[in-house]
């Protein structure tokens, strides 16, 4: 069963069409890159898939659930991490994990177990009871990703998760993403960094609310006859600007 299926998914704000008849399919365990310039409609699409925004028209299912009628079921099955920081800075590392475990209905023993695993894996033993505000940004983002995976969601939506993070941490972050995908979690990720697009299994490029290209990174480079994803992106973006 496919993780995400959309058919002509559209969102209008008045006369403005933010997402214009978008159709794509994301397979289970796939790392799906969702690219586009600012204002291309990426965030609107993500918000619809997460059940935060009602589509104007079109169809979509997430983890097999309808985005119109089964948003509660969808929410239980997805994780979400935004470019804006999604942890509470005035709570400690442990308290953040306990809180998110709590609102996803995890049992206390389960939460405790997972807290230990996360703390050990990220090497946070020394700061587990410190306020999150005192952690460096890279650690925070890795922690936020772990927390988004806390309830073992089928799909994780990452909205520019590596914004402002140094290259080494980005690298580590992508290792965590691969690990999660390897366990069968579907990853839906937006990014500004074209080198990160190379890491994805498949990439879609959105321009003015429409998906202009969708293929593997290798396939895209081949069909646009360029050596990098950055090249592909430039061609697509310029193509619309001369229209």
């Amino acid at each position: 069963m496919d993780a995400i299926v959309t058919t002509k998914l559209t969102k209008r704000f008045g006369d403005f069409v933010a997402t214009d008849a978008v159709t794509f399919t994301v397979g289970e365990g796939e790392i799906f890159g969702f690219l586009g310039a600012n204002g291309a409609g990426k965030t609107t699409a993500i918000r619809m898939l997460c059940g935060l925004l009602k589509p104007s028209s079109g169809e979509a299912t997430v983890a097999g659930f309808n985005v119109y009628k089964q948003t509660e079921k969808i929410k239980q099955n997805i994780g979400y991490m935004s470019q804006r920081f999604s942890l509470y800075e005035d709570l400690t590392v442990r308290e953040n994990i306990r809180f998110y475990g709590g609102i996803y209905g995890l049992s206390l023993t389960n939460i405790r177990q997972k807290t230990d695993v996360i703390v050990a894996k990220l090497g946070l033993e020394a700061v587990a009871d410190s306020l999150v505000v005192s952690l460096p940004l890279g650690w925070k983002q890795k922690l936020a990703f772990s927390v988004a995976l806390l309830h073992d969601p089928k799909i994780v939506f990452l909205d520019e998760p590596t914004g402002g993070v140094d290259p080494i941490t980005r690298r580590q972050f992508w290792e965590m993403i691969y690990e999660a995908a390897h366990r069968g979690t579907t990853i839906f990720v937006t990014t500004h960094y074209m080198d990160e697009a190379e890491y994805c299994h498949r990439v879609s490029i959105m321009v003015d609310g429409q998906i202009k290209a969708l293929d593997t990174p290798a396939g895209l480079k081949k069909s646009y006859n360029t050596t990098s994803m950055d090249g592909v992106f430039q061609i697509l973006a310029r193509g619309t600007s001369t229209k």
């Binding site: 935060l52 804006r84 999604s86 005035d90």
Partner: protein, 372 residues
């Protein structure tokens, strides 16, 4: 349900972590009550007075005794002449001079117009007004007693004319007026401002999105935000009532349960204003200013807390009617000081309940359209 508790617990952690806010929350009512109750009071205790008795008769003696035994005044200077009054005022020795002219006792006993003059230091306007009105009342009471005992004998009623330089101020304000006002203000501040700011903060940092993506529904998020502040504000309300009753000796003639219930109602109303504000703005700063401008200012100036509503110009009186604190102050005064119950206070209660329903409805509608 466990999800909800996890959320409420998180809210409490936020509140407890923020020591400074917590200190303000609980320090503020203390300070306000003490300030308004003691420092800013117009109550008179052992005020220094000077006496210029040119009569030395029985009645002047008795009136002097009455004044001094009242507890409000103490004799600081026996003055010999009008000139002394001026000097005593200038040296700040006395706050009030009582002038009893020669032949006062004689005039009084014959039922002629007997006069006493009260001169007060008007540089302290408020206490001057209070002092003269207290003294006038005491002298008036004496005259009334005398008249009652001698009415059958004397053909003409005995009269004392007290001439003062002050106008009598019928609305002597003290702790009785301030405490309900402080209560309304603090509860509004804590409930409405804190709730609106905390929701705006989640929107600003982006955690609100994460909450909305989680299985928590909107009701759980809203009530999870309300519950801690409802508890906190209620504690605050109890604290202010206790301070008022035990420290400022405000009577509690009516039902304590009714008072607490009305307090809860008012808090709920204030929280619904907070929710409404937070549903209209995404920024903490705007939420804070909106709370201050929309609620705190009108509450202070228009609720009758500091300036009596009756003496406001018409348009302001009209606006005063839509200020929730006005109704709450009425209720608190009614229950505590007048000892009346719901049979009298139901209109005010109804207004507050109606306001709460309207605000909650509006904020739910706003949140819905945001999602849709």
């Amino acid at each position: 349900m466990n999800r909800f508790f996890a959320f409420v617990k998180k809210e409490f952690l936020h509140i407890l972590r923020d020591r400074r806010t917590l200190l303000i929350l609980f320090g503020l009512p203390f300070l306000q009550v003490l300030l308004f109750g003691f420092a800013l009071t117009n109550e008179i205790k052992n005020a220094n007075i000077g006496l210029l008795d040119n009569d030395h008769g029985a009645h002047s003696q008795q009136i002097t005794n009455r004044l001094l035994s009242s507890g409000y005044f103490q004799l600081r200077a026996n003055l010999q002449s009008y000139r002394d009054i001026d000097a005593a005022f200038r040296q700040n020795k006395i706050k009030l001079a009582v002038v009893i002219p020669a032949n006062f006792t004689n005039d009084y006993a014959h039922g002629w117009s007997a006069q006493i003059q009260l001169v007060s230091d008007a540089t302290e306007q408020n206490s001057a007004i209070s002092l003269t009105s207290y003294a006038t009342a005491i002298i008036g009471a004496y005259a009334a007693e005398q008249q009652a005992t001698t009415a059958s004998q004397a053909a003409t009623p005995m009269r004392i004319d007290v001439s003062t330089r002050m106008v009598f101020n019928p609305e002597l304000k003290g702790a009785f007026v301030f405490v309900p006002g402080v209560m309304a203000m603090v509860l509004l501040l804590v409930s409405a401002m804190m709730t609106s700011v905390t929701i705006a903060r989640e929107k600003e940092t982006g955690t609100m999105d994460v909450l909305l993506v989680s299985p928590l529904n909107q009701g759980q998020i809203l009530f999870g935000k309300i519950v801690p502040y409802l508890l906190l504000s209620f504690l605050n309300g109890c604290l202010i009532i206790a301070l008022g009753v035990f420290l400022l000796h405000i009577p509690l003639h009516g039902s304590l349960i009714l008072l607490l219930a009305e307090t809860l109602l008012f808090i709920f109303m204030a929280l619904s204003i907070g929710l409404l504000i937070s549903s209209l703005t995404d920024s903490q700063l705007v939420a804070m200013f909106a709370s201050l401008v929309v609620m705190l200012m009108p509450t202070i100036f228009l609720s009758g807390f500091i300036f009596p509503i009756e003496s406001m110009p018409r348009p302001l009186q009209f606006i005063a009617n839509i200020i929730p604190a006005k109704y709450f102050i009425d209720i608190v005064k009614g229950v505590m000081i007048k000892g009346v119950g719901l049979s009298i206070l139901w209109p005010q209660t109804l207004v507050l309940a109606g306001m709460a329903i309207v605000f909650i409805g509006l904020s739910l509608r706003n949140l819905k359209t945001r999602i849709g």
